[in-house]
Amino acid sequence: MILYSVISSLHLLNAITHKCSFHEKTPSVLLISHFLFDKYPNFNSLTLYFEKIVVFSAHLLPKTDSYPESNDTYFLDLFRKNNFSISDFSEIHVMGAHYSFGAYVAHNNIPFFFWEDAAGLLSRKNIVIEIDRKFSETKILLCEKYGLYDGSSPSVIGKIGLISAQVQGFSDETFIGFDTIKELLSLNSNVSKLIVSFFTSVEKIDIPLSSTIVLTQHLANLRVMSLYDQILLYQNFVDYFFPAESLVIKPHPDDLLFYSRLFPSAIVIHEKFPSEFFPLILSNKPKLIATISSTAINGLRGYYENTFSLSDQFVQNFQAIHRYYVSVLLWNYILSPSLFYRGLGVIDSVVERMIENFKTNTTTNSKEEPYISSLYFFDDINVSSGLSRDLLEDRDISLVFLNSGKSPNYLLELPKEAMLQNLIPIRIIKKQIKQVDFYSDEFSEIIYFYSKNERCKKMVEKFEFSKELPHTGLVISVKPLSPEEQRILVLEGILAATEKRLQYQTSVNSELAKALENRK
C-alpha cells in the first residue's frame, strides 16, 4: 500500500498524476491537509484514485526547536481512527515535508520519499524558509534540524522533483525526476481530462493569439509585503516590461489582488487551477509566459519556448525600478547596444530584460562612434570589493551609481575632486497622473553618472526623456540640470552618504558603549 501526503493544490495534482502513472493498480491512501479540505469541498471524488482519503491538520508550530511530542500522539490517533498503521505502507510520499506529517516521519525515522515543495525548490530551500519566516522562527529551526526543506533527513530514501528547474550544477544521488506536465500529457486524454475536472469546471480558456501570460504570486497574503506594495509591484512590472502586450493575468490561487480593476484591458483568469494545466486548457499558445519570481514557471519552461522571470531580489528592491530604467536608457543613449555593460550589486535579470526590450523595440541610435566602450552599473555593493581606482581613471569606461539607498557609501570613496568634476547627478522626476489606484510616491530619485570622458559627460548633461507609466499612474522624466542644480545634488548626495555613515558609526558606538557598560 502507498501513502501520499499533500498540502497544496500542486501536491495534490502531483500525487494523482504519480499514482495514475506509476501505481495505478496499487492500493493507496491520501493524507490531505485541512487547507485543501476547505478549498475542495468535492474532495470525496478523489476516491477515484485513492482507496481512502484522510484529512489531517498540517500545522507545525513548535514552541521551541524541539519536536512536539503531541504531533506523534496526533498522528497515532489519526491512524488508529482510520484503521491503519504507518507500517502498512510500502512507500510513503511526503509532499510539503516541512509540515506536521513530514516532521512526524522524520522524527520517527520512517523511510519516505521527499517531494520538492514546488518546481525547482529542492535546490532553492531558502525560498521556502523565507516564507516560513513570516510565521514561525521555531518551525524553521525544527525543520532545518530534521532536513525537511531540502530532503537531507536521513529518513529520506529518494528526492523527487523537476530536474530542469533546479539551479545550475545541482546534483544528488538520490534524485528521482518527475515532470508533472510530461506525465499529465502522457496519460490517456480521458484520464487527464478527469484530473483537470477535479480542479476546475472549465474545460477551455480562450486567450488571444500572441498574448503574454503573467503568473502572479500571493506576496501580500504571505506577508512578504503589504497589499499596496504588491499592487505597485505589478503596476511597475506591467508598465516597464509589457507596456503594449496583449496581457492575460493568471493570479495565484491565493492571490486576492483586484487585477481586473488595476489592468482593465487585460484578461484575468479567475478560475483556480494549477498552471501545469496550461498545455491542456488554453485555447492558444501564449507568446510569452512571465512572472516576477513564481516557481510555477519552472515547470512550464519545457513546454513554452518563451518564458521570463525576474528574481526574489527584485521583489525586495522593486522600488528601484525607475533607476534601473533610466540607467538602461543611458546605456542606450551613449552606447551601441552591442557594447559592453557590467552590473555590480544590481539585479542582472532586470537590466538584461530592459536591454533586450530596447534591442527589439527601438532602433539603434545613429551614433557614428561610441564615446566609451563600456558602462558599469553599481548599486548595492561593498566599495572595497567593487570599485577600483582603475575604473575611476579609465576614460573609456563610465559608471552609473543607482544609489537605491542600501549602500550609498561608495560616493564617499570617490576622490573629492573627482566627485565635483566628474559626477553628474540625474534627477528622475515622478509626476502623478491618475487619482484612483495610485500607490506610488512622488519623491524625486537621483542616480549619479561618473565619467572622465568629457564628450560623454557633455552628452549625459543634455540627456532628457519622459515616459508614461499608465497603470502606475506616473510620468517619469529626466531634464537637464543647471550647473548650480548639479552642484547642489552632488553635495546633497555626499551629505546623505555622510549621514548614513555617521548614523552607522553612532549606532556602533552606542552598542560598544552598552557592551562596555554591561562588562562593568
Binding site: N221, L227, L256, F258, Y259, R261, E499, Q503, T506
Partner: protein
C-alpha cells in the same frame, strides 16, 4: 418620639444598605466591564433628562450592552475589534504602564485624569487586521453587508453631532447644534406617535427647525447635506476590502439606520467615490431599522438561501440585532471610540472635535500603523504648526508684510507647512542661530554675549575648554593673549571658579573682539540683504523664547545697517527664565506671540513654565528640529556649521512627516469651511499640554536624543548633551 427616631434610623439604615447594594450591583454590571462602562456612562451623560424619565429604557440598553460585551469576549479572536496590545508592549517598553490601567482605576470615569497613550505607538496598540486578511475572511459569504456611517465612510468630527456647528455657521444660526439635536428628537417622537415607528427623514427634522427658527426647510436640508459631503470621506480600509470583494463578484450591499433618503445617501457615497455596490438599505426608506432587526429581516427576505455577513460599528444595531437573526457579523470598533480617551481635553468645541476627528480616523482606521515619533508630530505638533502658520499669514496680510523670513532651524518645518497652506506670500528660509546672533550683534548686546559665551557655558554639564570657546567664535587670535595676560590655559576648562577671570579677559579685549567680527558681520549683511531684497517690511519667524534671533535681525536691519526696512518679530511663544527680560518688546509689539507670553494666555505660560520642572521647551522644540546642523555664522565668506545631531535625524524626519500629514489632511477638509483655520493659540497648545501632562510620554521618546541648550559646541570632545543629561539632575 423614640418610635419616630427609631423609624428614621431604620429608614436611614435601609437606605444605606440599599445604596450599598445598588453601588455593588452597578460596579459589578457596569464599572467592572470597560466596554459597558464607557458606553453606558456616555449614554447616560449625553441623555441626562431622558435617562431620568425613562430608567427602564436605559436598563434595556444596559442589558443589550451586557449581551454584546459577553459576545465580544467570545469573538475577540476573529472580530475587527482592535486588539489592545498595550500589556504586552509595556513589558518590552521602558515606559511604565499607563495610569489608565492602574493609578486612576479606582476613580469614577468622569473624575479620571485623561492621559495620552503612554505605551508607545497608539496606532500599533489598537491595530486592526489588515484589509486583505479581513477580505479573505469575508470570501465564504455570498452577500456582504456594510454599515455606512463610521464604518464605510468616516467623518472628521469626534462626535457626529459636532458637524451641526458647521451647518449652523453656514445657515448663520446661533446655538444651532442644540436646535438640530432637539429637532431630531422631536421629529422622532412625533413619528412614533403618528406611525408607530421612529424612522424619520431629514426633511422631517428641518420641519421642526423651521418651526423653531423660521428657516426654510430646503435651505436647511441642502446646507446639512453639503456639509456632510464636505466632511465625510471614504474609509480606505473598507475601500480596499470592497475592491477585493468586487474582484471576486461578491454581492455588496450597504445598510444604514439613517434619516437620509436613498437618493441623498447615494449622492453622499458618490462624493466619496463609492459607486460599486449592489443595493442600499436605508431605515427611513423601509420604515424599519437595523436596531429593531426588521431591516435585517428584509435583507434575509430579499436574499433567501444566501449566506449573509454584516459589518458595522454599532454594538446593538450592527452586532446584536443581526446576530439574533442568525446573520454573521464582524464588529468594526468606531475609530473615535478608540481614540477619544487619548485626545486632548480643554479645547474649544469645534476645533477640538475637528482635531480629534482627524487624529482618530487617521490613526485608527486600520490601514496603517505609525511609529511613536510620527504620532508625536501628528497628534501633538500638527495643530500647533498649522495654527501658527495660519496666524503668521493673517498677520502678514494685516501688516502688509512683503516677505516672511523663517529662521533656521525651527523655520524649516514652519516654511514647509506655510507653503503647503499658502502660495500668496513670498518667504525664505534664513540661516540664523543664537550664536550667529550673538556674534553679529555683540556691540549692541555685550551682556548677551558674555552670558551665553561664559555664564551658560560654565554651567553646562559638558565642559568646554577656553580654546573651544574662542575657536567656535573665531577668536582664536586671542589664545596667546589669554595665556599671557590672564594666566588661563587654552586647554583648561571653563568653570564656575574661573569664569570671572575669563569674562574679565573678554571685556578687556572687547574692542578688538568687536573689530574682529566686522568682516564676517559684513558677510552677514550681504547674505541678509540678498534675502530681504527690496522688501520694505518683513516678518521674522522663530519658535521663541526670548526672541533674541528675530530681535537681533531687527536691530541689524533697522539700526545698524539702516536698510529702510521694518522688521516684525513673530514667535510661537515667549518664555524666559528671567520673566521680565523681553517685556518691553512685547508691550511695544516689536514681538508678537501666537501661543503665550508673559502678557497673553498667561495660564498656558504658567503651565509651560512650571510643570515638569521647566523642561517643556525641550519637548516643544522637538517639533521644529531640523535635519541639518546648527548655523554657526560666517568665516571668510563661507557658512559655518555646528556638529550635526545625526542621531536625531531619523526621529526628526518621522516627526515632520506626522506634522506634514496632519496639515495636509486638515487643509483638505478645512478648505471647505475656511473658518476652521482660525485656530487660537490656546487650542494649538492644548495637544502639547496634554502630551506633557505625564512626563513619561516625552521622556521615553526623547531621553536618548541630543539636545544642546548652549550655543557652540564641545569641539575637542565632540560630545553633545542629551535630554537625559538635562532631566537626570532634575530627578525627572
Amino acid at each position: 418620639m423614640r418610635v419616630f427616631s427609631q423609624f428614621i434610623r431604620k429608614r436611614l439604615a435601609y437606605g444605606i444598605v440599599m445604596k450599598s447594594i445598588k453601588n455593588k450591583l452597578y460596579d459589578f454590571l457596569v464599572t467592572s466591564r470597560p466596554l459597558v462602562r464607557d458606553r453606558y456612562q456616555n449614554y447616560v451623560c449625553s441623555n441626562k433628562e431622558y435617562h431620568k424619565n425613562h430608567r427602564f429604557r436605559s436598563w434595556v440598553y444596559l442589558y443589550h450592552l451586557l449581551k454584546f460585551d459577553k459576545a465580544q469576549k467570545k469573538l475577540s479572536k476573529f472580530s475587527l475589534v482592535p486588539s489592545n496590545v498595550s500589556n504586552s508592549q509595556s513589558r518590552s517598553s521602558a515606559v511604565t504602564p499607563s495610569p489608565r490601567k492602574s493609578d486612576c482605576k479606582s476613580l469614577p470615569v468622569n473624575q479620571r485624569l485623561r492621559l495620552p497613550y503612554l505605551d508607545g505607538s497608539e496606532s500599533f496598540a489598537f491595530k486592526r487586521e489588515e484589509p486583505i486578511f479581513f477580505a479573505k475572511r469575508l470570501m465564504p459569504f455570498d452577500i456582504i453587508s456594510f454599515d455606512i456611517f463610521d464604518t464605510l465612510i468616516l467623518r472628521t468630527f469626534s462626535n457626529p453631532t459636532d458637524l451641526f456647528m458647521v451647518v449652523g455657521n453656514k445657515l448663520n444660526l446661533t446655538n444651532f447644534k442644540k436646535i438640530r439635536i432637539d429637532a431630531e428628537k422631536e421629529a422622532r417622537s412625533i413619528s412614533l406617535a403618528l406611525t408607530g415607528s421612529s424612522e424619520i427623514t431629514l426633511e422631517d427634522i428641518y420641519k421642526q427647525i423651521q418651526y423653531r427658527t423660521g428657516l426654510n426647510i430646503k435651505q436647511g436640508v441642502e446646507a446639512e447635506l453639503s456639509t456632510e459631503a464636505d466632511f465625510c470621506f471614504p474609509n480606505q480600509y473598507f475601500v480596499d476590502v470592497l475592491k477585493i470583494l468586487k474582484e471576486f463578484n461578491k454581492t455588496i450591499i450597504f445598510t444604514s439606520d439613517m434619516y437620509l433618503s436613498k437618493a441623498q445617501i447615494t449622492k453622499l457615497l458618490y462624493s466619496c467615490g463609492i459607486v460599486d455596490y449592489d443595493n442600499l438599505y436605508i431605515s427611513c426608506e423601509y420604515g424599519c431599522s437595523k436596531r429593531s432587526g426588521n431591516l435585517f429581516k428584509q435583507l434575509k427576505f430579499d436574499y433567501p438561501n444566501k449566506s449573509i455577513v454584516h459589518i458595522g460599528d454599532n454594538p446593538i444595531s450592527d452586532y446584536s440585532s443581526a446576530k439574533e437573526l442568525g446573520i454573521n457579523t464582524f464588529f468594526y470598533k468606531n475609530c473615535h471610540e478608540i481614540g477619544n480617551p487619548f485626545r486632548a481635553d480643554g479645547m474649544s468645541d469645534l476645533i477640538g472635535s475637528f482635531y480629534s476627528g482627524i487624529v482618530n480616523t487617521h490613526l485608527h482606521n486600520g490601514i496603517n500603523v505609525f511609529n511613536p515619533y510620527y504620532e508625536y508630530g501628528f497628534i501633538y505638533g500638527g495643530l500647533y504648526i498649522l495654527g501658527f502658520c495660519n496666524w503668521i499669514h493673517k498677520k502678514s496680510k494685516l501688516e502688509n508684510i512683503d516677505k516672511i523670513l523663517f529662521l533656521s532651524r525651527d523655520g524649516d518645518i514652519y516654511k514647509k507647512v506655510y507653503n503647503i497652506l499658502f502660495n500668496d506670500s513670498p518667504n525664505e528660509y534664513v540661516l540664523w542661530s543664537r550664536i550667529a546672533n550673538t556674534k553679529y550683534t555683540m556691540e549692541h548686546n555685550k551682556d548677551d554675549f558674555l552670558t551665553r559665551m561664559v555664564t551658560h557655558k560654565a554651567l553646562s554639564p559638558i565642559p568646554s575648554t577656553f580654546k573651544d570657546i574662542l575657536v567656535s567664535i573665531q577668536l582664536d587670535f586671542l589664545l596667546p593673549l589669554l595665556e599671557k595676560t590672564s594666566k588661563l590655559k587654552g586647554s583648561s576648562l571653563l568653570t564656575q571658579e574661573n569664569k570671572i577671570l575669563f569674562e574679565k579677559f573678554l571685556s578687556n579685549h572687547w574692542d578688538s573682539i568687536v573689530e574682529n567680527m566686522q568682516t564676517d558681520c559684513e558677510t552677514a549683511r550681504l547674505y541678509l540683504s540678498s534675502i530681504i531684497g527690496a522688501s520694505k517690511k518683513i516678518a521674522v519667524i522663530d519658535v521663541g523664547w526670548l526672541g533674541s534671533g528675530p530681535l537681533g535681525i531687527k536691530y541689524l536691519v533697522e539700526e545698524k545697517w539702516k536698510m529702510n526696512c521694518n522688521v516684525k518679530c513673530l514667535l510661537a511663544a515667549s518664555h524666559f527664565y528671567i520673566p521680565e527680560s523681553n517685556i518691553n518688546e512685547i508691550m511695544n509689539e516689536d514681538i508678537e506671540t501666537y501661543i503665550f507670553s508673559r502678557m497673553y494666555n498667561r495660564n498656558l505660560y504658567d503651565t509651560h513654565k512650571k510643570s515638569n520642572k521647566g523642561t517643556n521647551n525641550i519637548f516643544f522644540e522637538f517639533f521644529s528640529q531640523s535635519c541639518s546642523p546648527s548655523f554657526n555664522g560666517f568665516s571668510n565668506g563661507s557658512f559655518l556649521f555646528d556638529m550635526p545631531e545625526i542621531n536625531n535625524y531619523e526621529i526628526t524626519r518621522d516627526i515632520h512627516s506626522g506634522i506634514l500629514d496632519f496639515c495636509k489632511i486638515y487643509r483638505s477638509f478645512a478648505n471647505k469651511s475656511p473658518y476652521l483655520f482660525n485656530i487660537s493659540g490656546y487650542d494649538a497648545y492644548m495637544p502639547f499640554r496634554f502630551a506633557i501632562r505625564d512626563i513619561r510620554l516625552v521622556k521615553s521618546l526623547f531621553e536618548h536624543c541630543s539636545f544642546s541648550r548652549n550655543v557652540g559646541v564641545n569641539l575637542s570632545g565632540q560630545k553633545q548633551e542629551t535630554v537625559s543629561d538635562i532631566l537626570n539632575p532634575l530627578k525627572i
